[in-house]
């Protein structure tokens, strides 16, 4: 049995707890103590970081698209809890209170106003003679009264402007939506679509993560380096795990700049 009153043994126990070699009884004793013992918590965090390098010994294993979908579905199925406020300082254990979760997949939320209009589908069906400016003008005219906060729209087109693939809609201070507006050929198994943005004047693009063809992505505005007019958004074709260098390496598939609505 471990003696957590003994200083040396406390630290050894914290190390073995992280390592995973405490036997079942000791582990239970330790976990019980850990909930309220801040010194023990600090020791556990220290050991976590000290031993972290050992994880480099395990070779990576390829994840499948299905795994993320499972995680996403399970997270979405969790009951949204009330207020976050009382996050306890103790180790993981208690039921979590959490803030309102932002609307995740757009299909669960009401479709954005411009999508309801079916406008973009119609547009891309046409010969896309409509310029970006004209499109936006149309949208503005049909738009419901704008809620508070600045709104921006970017229409992402293929570089030859023959095809409109996605629309980016930003509500300042709230969220960014990337919404597919046309059918897109599937990407090869070993490739991914990566979503980027570069505010006017920024030194380089910032990755907003990998996206899938036909998938709506909703991000908090805080994920962006900035929000403004003439902000560049683009989708590039990258290796499966995304660009290894933090900036686009593959061809631009769709690109556009924001206009303020």
């Amino acid at each position: 049995m471990i003696d957590l009153d003994d200083a040396a043994e406390r630290d050894a126990a914290a190390g073995e707890y992280v390592l995973g070699t405490l036997d079942a009884d000791d582990r239970l004793t330790f976990e019980q103590a850990l909930k309220a013992d801040t010194d023990l918590q600090a020791r556990v965090y220290a050991w976590q970081d000290q031993l972290l390098g050992l994880s480099a010994l395990a070779p990576p294993a390829p994840t499948t698209a299905g795994l993320w979908r499972r995680i996403q579905a399970s997270v979405a199925a969790l009951p949204p809890a009330a207020a976050a406020a009382t996050a306890s300082a103790s180790a993981p254990a208690m039921p979590q209170a959490r803030p309102r979760v932002p609307a995740q997949p757009a299909r669960e939320a009401a479709p954005p106003w411009w999508q309801r209009l079916g406008l973009w589908q119609g547009l891309s069906g046409l010969a896309v003679a409509a310029s970006l400016a004209l499109s936006v003008l149309l949208v503005q005219r049909l738009q419901a009264p704008a809620p508070a906060g600045e709104r921006y729209l970017a229409v992402l087109q293929s570089p030859d402007q023959q095809k409109t693939g996605w629309v980016v809609e930003i509500e300042a201070g709230r969220q960014v939506r990337l919404v597919p507006v046309s059918e897109m050929a599937a990407v090869a198994e070993d490739r991914s679509l990566q979503f980027w943005t570069k505010p006017q004047g920024a030194a380089g693009p910032t990755s907003l993560g990998l996206v899938r063809a036909g998938q709506t992505v909703v991000l908090p505005v805080s994920a962006l380096p900035g929000v403004g007019a003439q902000q560049l958004f683009e989708i590039t074709l990258e290796p499966r795990e995304g660009s290894p260098i933090g900036k686009p390496t593959g061809p631009i598939l769709f690109v556009g700049r924001t206009v303020r609505l």
Partner: protein
Amino acid sequence: MQTLTSDFDYEAALAACARGEHFALRMLYEREGRWLLGVAKRIVRDHELAQDVLHDAFLQVWKHATTFQPSLGSARGWIYTIVRHQALSVLRKSGREERVDSEELTTLSDRLQATENRDDDRGLDTQALERCLGRLEASRRACVVHAFVDGLTHEQIAEQLETPLGTVKSWIKRSLTSLKECMA
């Protein structure tokens, strides 16, 4: 070369998870998923089972993100511990504690150097740990490595190393103490 991965702000991502921002969890998955799956697979020794481990671990990360204490240590260390402990829990419950063959045992612990020198972009600093592990006597080093990487129990390590259980226990304890002193 500075890379996106090493620049990735794990603490910010975890804080965003705590605020309920799904995107942050996805970013963590994209950054670390295959490495974490590798860690889990190494322990449970089954790809399917490892995916279950990662699924459950990511749910825990999401649920418990509010309890993460950035003042005490790194978000990455916290996440890896959740994944490893989930893998260990599955392993111990399932009773699938297959033997690591002895040849593997003797050579494995010497591989950290090779792994570390591999040109990967994870920004995982293994230098101090490697140096300090190198100071341990080989069989003691093997104890720590196999407990961490393969999830072996004291008993299994004792059996594999053909060393009395009590000796293995004290080796691990003392090895951890030496590692800590060395890395301080």
